[in-house]
């Protein structure tokens, strides 16, 4: 299977948000691969390998694609170090792009790469938009399976059986290839991905995406990463969705520590009036 994985670099979410000139101050920020995209790379790897033998299935290929500034190359290398085969870095600034531009560029890349599957994160944890996957599928006229918590590849490899986390339970949807899958947190569960090659008995650690090994990091340095521009894909680097300003929410008023349950109930009933 040939899988395309779009990834975005995002500021490390554990950093405190600071505002400068009405926008998030990113000077000195440290960056990570969007967690859901890291999970998407992990998912793609699990789809393309025999997990028990830690060996790639012949003919499989994983291509990571990212739109971002020059130094996003670092996060792209991280994905290569995890095990992706090659990368396309579309060099641009965050001001030039929005979901629509990202989708157009991805569409252009898909037209030339012709992957069997696009596997990506369900949302980028900086903007929390949760749009690009669905928009991309709509543009391509491909089916979509969003919020995937489990994937099972059919024996003939022509379709996927996807468990989707929805309100009120888990929905199972079957999609043919090619299609767009967006992954949710639980896709990295111990047995969430079944590819019909990895033995049923194999259990992944379930502790998130794999860390790049030292060998992986060395290998990543030699893996191909081509750079391109937004205009190469017939898209205009012009955002129709513009951020005018950012504010921080007012801090919550300081609360109090109550000594015991009796006091707690009294406060809830008499002060907060919520009981």
């Amino acid at each position: 299977m040939k899988i395309l994985v779009p990834v975005k670099r995002v500021p490390d979410p554990t950093q405190k948000a600071k505002i400068k000139d009405g926008h998030i101050d990113l000077a000195g920020a440290s960056w990570i691969v969007n967690t859901f995209d890291e999970y998407a790379v992990e998912t793609a790897l699990r789809l393309c390998e025999n997990g028990a033998e830690n060996a790639r299935i012949a003919g499989s290929e994983i291509i990571v694609v990212s739109l971002g500034p020059d130094d996003a190359a670092k996060e792209i290398r991280t994905c290569l170090a995890m095990g992706a085969d090659r990368a396309i870095h579309v060099v641009t600034t965050d001001e030039e792009i929005d979901s629509l531009v990202v989708v157009k560029v991805l569409q252009g890349i898909i037209a030339s790469e012709k992957p069997d599957l696009v596997v990506m994160g369900k949302q980028a944890v900086d903007g929390d938009a949760n749009q690009v996957g669905q928009m991309l599928a709509g543009r391509l006229g491909w089916p979509q399976a969003t919020f995937a918590a489990s994937i099972e590849v059919a024996v003939d490899k022509k379709s996927l059986f996807v468990g989707r986390e929805v309100d009120g339970g888990v929905e199972y949807k079957s999609v043919p290839v090619p299609s767009v899958i967006t992954v949710d947190l639980r896709i990295v569960g111990p047995k969430a991905v079944k590819n019909n090659v990895t033995p049923e008995t194999h259990v992944y650690s379930g502790e998130g995406a794999r860390l790049p090994s030292l060998k992986g990091i060395m290998a990543a340095k030699k893996k191909p990463m081509v750079t391109a521009k937004v205009a190469d894909y017939g898209a205009e680097p012009k955002a129709m969705i513009k951020e005018l300003s950012v504010t921080l929410p007012p801090p919550r008023a300081a609360g109090e520590i109550v000594p015991d349950v009796v006091t707690l109930v009294k406060k809830l009933a008499d002060v907060a009036k919520v009981l």
Binding site: Q123, Q134, D167, S174, R186, I241, S245, L268
Partner: protein
């Protein structure tokens, strides 16, 4: 001048409470765009729900067809996009539920529309305020496409009230339906008599410190006493203690009840993102240094094993005394 097309979810012939938040936003958008709110109902039972929906908007469009019995983004999106064009909509909306989030970006793609997801507020014709960075900041965005797609957050818009007079209901033919090879297989639903997490007035959530699913029973007893919905942290859902759709947080449900109990939850930013908007927050945790105490209105440093049964007893006493 443009109309607002509001995709609304329904069950058993009535609009879901989540849809009423969507209508509330749609009405605000209509004042900015000068048009009217048009509700669109798609799927099995749409026609039957038309009458109930017509109490909320001057116009309702229903699209029902055996091929639309189960929700699929592939089949629903082209219908919503088509009706948006046919009805001169400049804004298309759906509540940010699992369906709304799955559907609306696909509709946006078909309409070349820019989209504002999960919005908390609208400040004009094309400007919206939405949480970013797990709710740690609020971004004002401006969208300059001719049609705009928006998913309002249920917890940020008070449910719309009925109008004085009922609107018209029009059935629209589904037209050619093409699922592009996708199919709905089944829904493994979590049956519960408790209120929906999305609109419960009280939520009781447990975290990893509950240790087992069995231990959640005592929280459920507290929840039932308060008519509350059950919630959980990701650690608890990932460990399989409780169903995945109980997860509250950046990637789970966003809730804003009057009263939120966080029991044995540390208060990671991703969890806080889902419950910071609650009016009153109670944290019960054995470790006084946990970040959950920084957002709690009332914090109790205690083991849940001792505190929760006591809490149930005290609340029962309070109720009996009234």
């Amino acid at each position: 001048m443009g109309n607002i097309l509001a995709f609304c979810e329904f069950t058993d012939g009535v609009l879901r409470s989540s849809a009423l938040s969507n209508i509330a936003f749609a009405r605000e958008a209509a004042t900015h765009h000068g048009g009217e709110v048009i509700i669109i109902l798609v799927g099995a039972g749409a026609a039957a729900a038309g009458a109930a929906a017509s109490k909320f908007a001057p116009k309702v469009i229903t699209v029902e067809d055996p091929g639309l019995a189960n929700y699929l983004a592939e089949t629903y999106a082209p219908i919503v996009a088509r009706e948006a064009k046919a009805n001169n909509a400049t804004v298309v909306t759906a509540t940010a539920t699992a369906v709304g989030k799955d559907l609306l970006p696909r509709v946006a793609a078909l309409l070349d529309a820019g989209m504002a997801s999960d919005i908390a507020k609208t400040t004009g014709k094309d400007t919206f305020i939405r949480p970013i960075l797990a709710g740690n900041a609020y971004s004002t965005v401006q969208i300059s496409t001719p049609i705009i797609c928006v998913t309002p957050r249920q917890s940020e818009f008070e449910p719309a009230a009925e109008l004085g007079s009922a609107g018209t209901v029009t059935a629209s033919a589904a037209g050619a339906i093409d699922a592009l090879g996708a199919s709905f297989e089944r829904l493994d639903a979590q049956k519960s008599d408790r209120p929906d997490l999305g609109d419960a007035k009280v939520v009781v959530s447990g975290g990893r410190g509950m240790k087992t699913g069995e231990n959640f029973k005592v929280l459920e007893e507290l929840a039932d006493l308060l008519g509350a919905a059950m919630g959980a942290s990701r650690a608890a859902t990932d460990a399989g203690m409780v169903p995945a759709d109980w997860q509250v947080g950046q990637t789970g449900k966003i809730v804003a009840p009057n009263l939120y109990f966080a029991v044995a939850i540390s208060g990671a930013i991703q969890h806080l993102a889902g419950m910071k908007g609650s009016k009153t927050i109670v944290a019960i945790n054995k470790n006084k240094d946990e970040p959950i105490f920084q957002v709690a209105d009332y914090g109790l440093v205690a083991d849940w094993e001792k505190a929760i049964p006591e809490l149930i007893t005290e609340i029962k006493k309070l109720k009996a005394s009234r």
